[in-house]
């Protein structure tokens, strides 16, 4: 028995909990037999890899590209940590798109017949919210630059006339890489 548990790698309670969990999940999944388990299994797999192997590499790539591109092209970047002023509106707008893309792209064909409501406004609403997010972010960055100019000097990198990337901006968006 002891050898068996050592081979298993955890205590008996661990095994019992997991077996109980699989029993419950298996029992629930069996109720899907009339619907067809294959289609549902595909959805589960898609849900697992959807973020980790699809969304994550895409947003990481976008984040790193933004950092690389904006570092190289004029005008020179402001001497503050600017990447979050770009990340926040992009991610929030993307989040709304991720949730509401069926309405935004007018995909539910029966929507108007069922609800009497039009599918037309959603694209404009999303674009308006996206625009507002970018404006707010730009205003916040402008405010940050102004207060930075008025505030006590933080060293040679804080002046508005400064050209070239500040030392602390060079590593780029390393947090979201990962």
């Amino acid at each position: 028995m002891r050898r068996l548990l050592r081979w298993y790698g955890a205590n008996p309670l661990h095994l019992l909990t997991l077996l109980g969990s699989f029993a419950l999940a298996g029992y629930a999944a069996l109720q899907w037999l009339p619907v067809g388990l294959f289609g549902i299994a595909v959805w589960f797999v898609a849900a697992v890899i959807g973020h980790d192997l699809l969304l994550m590499p895409l947003y990481t790539l976008a984040d790193r590209s933004a950092a690389a591109v904006f570092r190289r092209i004029p005008p020179k970047l402001p001497p503050v940590q600017w990447i979050n002023y770009l990340r926040v509106p992009v991610v929030l707008s993307g989040l709304l798109l991720l949730i509401w893309f069926p309405l935004i792209f007018r995909l539910p064909t029966g929507f108007q017949a069922a609800t009497t409501l039009s599918l037309d406004p959603y694209l404009w609403h999303w674009l308006a919210v996206t625009g507002a997010l970018f404006l707010l972010s730009a205003a916040a960055l402008a405010l940050r630059l102004r207060t930075g100019r008025r505030g006590p000097p933080e060293g040679p990198a804080s002046g508005p006339e400064m050209v070239g990337p500040p030392p602390d901006a060079t590593p780029g968006p390393s947090d979201l890489h990962s």
């Binding site: 999940a25 029992y27 109720q31 697992v48 994550m56 979201l176």
Partner: protein
């Protein structure tokens, strides 16, 4: 306790790529950050589970096979209780919370997934049979969460692209997800508590980017051995996730609150006002959509009130004029949809269901089968419970807000019962059959 096949050498070190811990360079990813997101989900996922089960109970599935959207449920669809009729906003609140909270959890879930990503590639991929089972249960957890969120979010947008009817998919999916969730909480709770204690939340909320430092390597697997320079503080990431959650909530909650706030739901299926008149409130099924024609609902329309009980007698047949001559009552009741949207209270006027029961000779009816003119389709018929029939606010409504019902609101007559899911307020009623 390495898991080795006897006679074979142990696994070599991780190949280059994401299986190497140094591949992951976030300076703030750590068990602490993951645990903060985990705590948020631990506090809210049970609310999703309970409101989901309550919504299941609200359909009174055991009252009749007619009400049961998951007939193969076995032990999973245990009967909770006969759904009450008061407070009248009960189902409005339940579904408003279930759907709005669900939407608001999307960013939290995504940030949580981001925070634990290196674990997906951990090396060696399998250490022991225990580790294998644990990873398999994560498939239930992550797959189940994704499945529940996606089916729910697509259903409220009426984009029925999932493989089958929404009810069995979302209901059994909830059990699969819960199976993974309970085990995950059980296995990770001690880790979460230790991690939460490892850093002071108050101090973290006072720490800006300039003073943000990576955690020591021994804080856990998620800490990067080669951290890059931080570009966002820990409080920044929490604020980021919180802002996403708040934004999604603010842009959708108006469809559940209604009134002037409905227009604030810029990104929600029922955030638009329905154009003017006494019937200017939301529907999710129109007369045209289900093939109700003017000839069926015109002067020739008759309501058949039957008694299927032991004291069965010939059914009573009533015209709309007959119904209007009966004692009329007005009840102020909302329409609340399983999809989370709802309307303010509307002033419904019509005949009490219990008066119709008495007319049919059913003194103490146990239930009533309500059938619509609708030919087939979902929710063309419903069974209501004794409590629902006997409530003084339960009506066969003929008028709403001082005018005749519009075709889309169920003209010539519809059922309206307090605190019930919207689809059980049957429209275009053709017959009522009481059972003793």
């Amino acid at each position: 306790m390495r898991w080795r096949v006897p006679g074979l050498p142990s696994l070599p070190g991780p190949p280059p790529g994401p299986t190497r811990r140094s591949f992951w360079r976030s300076p703030i990813r750590s068990p602490w950050l993951t645990s903060v997101f985990g705590l948020m989900l631990l506090a809210t996922i049970p609310v999703m589970f309970v409101t989901g089960l309550l919504s299941y109970a609200a359909y009174d599935p055991d009252l009749s096979p007619v009400n049961d959207t998951t007939p193969g449920k076995g032990l999973l669809g245990f009967y909770l209780f006969s759904w009450p009729t008061h407070p009248v906003w009960l189902y409005r609140l339940n579904q408003g919370v279930h759907v709005t909270l669900g939407l608001m959890l999307v960013p939290i879930l995504l940030f949580k997934l981001w925070s634990v990503l290196p674990k997906l590639f951990e090396w060696p991929p399998l250490r022991s049979p225990a580790h294998l089972l644990e990873r398999a249960s994560l498939f239930l957890l992550v797959g189940g969460a994704g499945f529940e969120f996606v089916t729910g979010i697509l259903n409220i947008q009426t984009w029925y692209k999932f493989p089958g009817s929404f009810y069995p998919l979302h209901f059994y999916g909830a059990w699969v997800f819960t199976a993974g969730f309970v085990v995950h909480v059980g296995l990770k709770l001690p880790t979460m508590i230790t991690a939460l204690r490892s850093r002071s939340m108050i101090r973290e909320l006072r720490t800006g980017l300039a003073r943000t430092r990576p955690e020591p390597l021994d804080a856990g697997y998620l800490v990067s051995p080669a951290p890059a320079a931080p570009t966002i503080s820990r409080r920044g990431v929490l604020a980021f996730a919180g802002a996403g959650s708040l934004l999604v909530g603010l842009l959708s909650v108006g469809q559940s609150i209604g009134g002037p706030l409905r227009r604030t739901a810029l990104l929600a299926p029922h955030g638009q006002d329905v154009s003017g008149g006494p019937g200017d409130f939301q529907v999710n099924k129109t007369a045209a959509e289900v093939g109700i024609t003017a000839s069926e609902t015109g002067a020739t329309w008759r309501l058949t009130v039957g008694n299927g009980g032991q004291a069965a007698q010939n059914p009573v047949v009533l015209s709309r004029a007959d119904l209007l001559r009966m004692e009329q009552h007005t009840a102020s009741l909302p329409i609340a949809c399983v999809e989370g949207w709802s309307t303010d209270n509307q002033a419904w006027t019509g005949v009490r269901l219990r008066d119709l029961a008495r007319m049919a000779g059913a003194i103490l009816p146990a239930s009533v089968l309500v059938q619509s003119l609708q030919n087939g389709g979902a929710f063309g018929q419903t069974v209501l419970s004794a409590g629902q029939i006997m409530d003084p606010d339960s009506l066969l409504a003929l008028r709403v807000n001082g005018a005749d019902l519009t075709p889309d609101h169920g003209y010539p007559a519809r059922v309206i019962v307090p605190a019930i899911p919207g689809v059980h307020n049957t429209k275009w009623v053709a017959s009522l059959t009481f059972q003793a």
